[in-house]
């Protein structure tokens, strides 16, 4: 039980990195990128390919991230920008088509074999610390969580304190007002897409270090990312981290119940959060509080 809680929490960093990219893209471009998970897979396969050429894992990640950032820029420049003005339907359709293209392209190039970075990492992939109370914690998951938090903190600093970050925040708050203040919307969009895809690639590499990856794994990653974003609340980086941790916890606890429970737990938490949000909106629409019970007690107060 405690073991499951720790594993779940450690998963949170990876989910948060995956989700932060999706959230940023949605915040700035108002696009839910249905190919986000597939882009993460592209990043993971790129790292694997470079490692296969004999590169060290760290160097491969360091090279892949900026390269995927450039891919993101190109994607925004030549594909997504065209769909932005055409309503909500087209971006969904285009990114869904892109997802199918990427999955099958990866399958065509790399085949169906499940791969992992575990071999390349050597000792790190199974090394662990033993905490008091005989709790074993893998070094790699801890490292992943620390790296995830560090990356999110870095992103937060960039968004808070740099010129680019201010432009991104302005554009996501109100793109027209931002444009009136002289912010180059196209540039901001490209930057946001680059960061988003870069984060996706990092998350893909993180996944490859602790599990096997395969070309058709992207859609599941997209679902996980979206669930973390919704659970944590859209628009806040630390909310995304919280969402990632809660998602990881729900999955680990679900896995305790049944072998199918890992994903089911996450899905059910997501649907519950979404349902709760709709319910509170509905109650607010009626001018009531969220819980019917509290309402009754208020009536009692009024009577005397």
């Amino acid at each position: 039980m405690i073991d499951a809680l720790i594993q779940g929490t450690l998963l949170g960093g990876y989910y948060a990195v995956l989700a932060a990219g999706l959230s940023l893209m949605f915040g700035v471009l108002r696009i839910i990128n249905l190919a986000h998970g597939d882009l993460a897979m592209v990043g993971a396969f790129a790292v694997l390919w470079l490692v296969g050429l004999g590169w060290s894992t760290w160097l491969a990640v360091l090279v892949t991230l900026p390269a995927m950032g450039v891919v993101g820029m190109g994607l925004q420049q030549w594909v997504l920008a065209r769909t932005l003005r055409a309503g909500v339907l087209l971006p969904l359709l285009v990114t869904m088509g892109l997802g199918a293209l990427i999955q099958n392209g990866l399958y065509g190039v790399f085949g169906s074999e499940a791969r992992s970075l575990a071999n390349a990492l050597g000792e790190l992939s199974w090394a662990s610390w033993v905490l008091p109370g005989d709790i074993v914690v893998g070094q790699l998951p801890v490292l992943t969580l620390v790296l995830g938090v560090a990356v999110l903190a870095g992103l937060q600093l960039v968004l808070r304190h740099t010129r680019l970050g201010r432009s991104i925040r302005a554009a996501s708050a109100d793109s027209e007002a931002a444009a009136l203040c002289g912010i180059d919307a196209a540039q901001v969009h490209r930057a946001a897409a680059a960061i988003s895809v870069g984060l996706a690639a990092l998350a893909g590499a993180m996944l490859a270090t602790r599990a096997t990856i395969e070309p058709y794994g992207g859609p599941l990653l997209l679902i996980m990312a979206f669930e973390a974003v919704v659970i944590g609340g859209i628009g806040s980086i630390w909310g995304t981290l919280l969402g990632g941790i809660l998602l990881g916890l729900a999955q680990s606890l679900g896995a305790l119940v049944s072998p199918h429970g890992f994903y089911l737990g996450g899905h059910l938490l997501f649907l519950a959060v979404l349902g709760g949000r709709l319910w509170s909106q509905y109650r607010h629409g009626l001018g009531l509080t969220i819980w019917p019970v509290r309402q009754r007690s208020r009536v009692v107060e009024v009577q005397p």
């Binding site: 055409a86 359709l93 293209l101 199918h260 649907l271």
Partner: protein
């Protein structure tokens, strides 16, 4: 002969006689074509007309088949179970609609997908399905193979005609006007007095019934039920391709898209993953440059022919206007 439903009936009667003229292979192929058309037209109704991009219609495709298997296991005979299964799946869609239809755009797309995944996992927990292994509709093995093939053909044809007829009738009624208004801009439609929720619910349940009918017709001809295949998200990708390439905003476009997909499958399907990657690429190209699909091209060509003096400008992506073919 002017009314499209009359046309549809005549076509249906002519097509229904085909099993007596064609070989077994051709009948099988046509059955799968009709199933694709059924999926395309209902997804086109959902995404193109009502503006609801769902990535989760495979839930009903699989669920109809699962309910049928359960009923057969409970002692029902095969064909009534298939029909009841589809209706059961549509009922589930009606219940779910109270939740998912309150979500917007991308959230709707992914929430429907998650719901489909949850349904798949729950179905896999049922001992009857045996997890990943799946099961078969063994009751159908007692039926003579030729008769079974023909019944599968008539089932898919009947479902297609029924759904297309219902869609044509619906879109010509006040509901159709409301649906199109809502698809353009739901808030504006609501302010003009369109009952957005009931209209959405009708379209969603109807489209889900279509997906479920396709699912049971698929089960009737394939016999095997594999959770990963029957609930696979690839059905949504295929639906997207057919509806988008054929013409989302047109009623007949998705049928055209299904025909194209069928032809591609027959000619290039052996390329495997690269063929599917190509489908994704073609879908992107259409979404970016020809968002009105083949039906849009046809409209432009007709417009140019009827008014040859006017130089028609190529439609820009911002003018996603509705197809003029009914």
């Amino acid at each position: 002969m002017k009314h499209p439903i009359t046309w549809l009936m005549v076509m249906a009667v002519l097509l229904a006689a085909l099993p007596w003229m064609l070989g077994a292979n051709a009948v099988d192929k046509l059955t799968s074509l009709f199933i694709l058309m059924l999926l395309a037209s209902t997804w086109g109704l959902l995404a193109g007309q009502a503006g609801l991009v769902s990535v989760g219609q495979q839930a009903f495709f699989g669920l109809g088949a699962y309910f049928a298997l359960r009923l057969v296991d409970g002692g029902w005979s095969a064909y009534p179970s298939l029909l009841a299964g589809a209706i059961g799946a549509a009922f589930v869609a009606w219940v779910l609609s109270f939740f998912v239809l309150r979500l917007k755009d991308g959230e709707f797309a992914i929430a429907t997908w998650v719901v489909a995944e949850v349904i798949r996992i729950l179905v896999m927990l049922d001992p009857l399905v045996q997890g990943e292994t799946g099961t078969s509709l063994l009751a159908l093995n007692q039926v003579d193979p030729d008769l079974r093939r023909n019944i599968g053909f008539w089932m898919s044809l009947g479902s297609l005609v029924f759904m297309v007829g219902l869609t044509v009738w619906l879109l010509r009624s006040a509901v159709g006007t409301a649906t199109r208004a809502m698809g353009e801009d739901d808030e504006a439609a609501a302010s003009l007095g369109v009952q957005v929720m009931p209209t959405r619910r009708r379209v969603y349940v109807l489209a889900s019934l279509g997906a479920a009918l396709a699912g049971v017709a698929w089960l009737a001809s394939a016999i095997t039920f594999l959770p990963r295949t029957n609930f696979g998200v690839q059905w949504s990708v295929l639906m997207l391709f057919m509806a988008l390439v054929g013409g989302l905003r047109s009623q007949w476009g998705p049928l055209l898209g299904a025909l194209l997909l069928f032809a591609l499958q027959e000619s290039l399907g052996h390329l495997g993953a690269w063929y599917l990657a190509g489908l994704g690429a073609v879908a992107m190209v259409f979404a970016l440059w020809l968002p009105r699909g083949l039906a849009g091209l046809w409209d432009d060509w007709r417009a140019r022919r009827t008014a040859p003096s006017l130089t028609t400008t190529t439609p820009s992506i911002t003018q996603l206007s509705r197809s003029t073919t009914p």
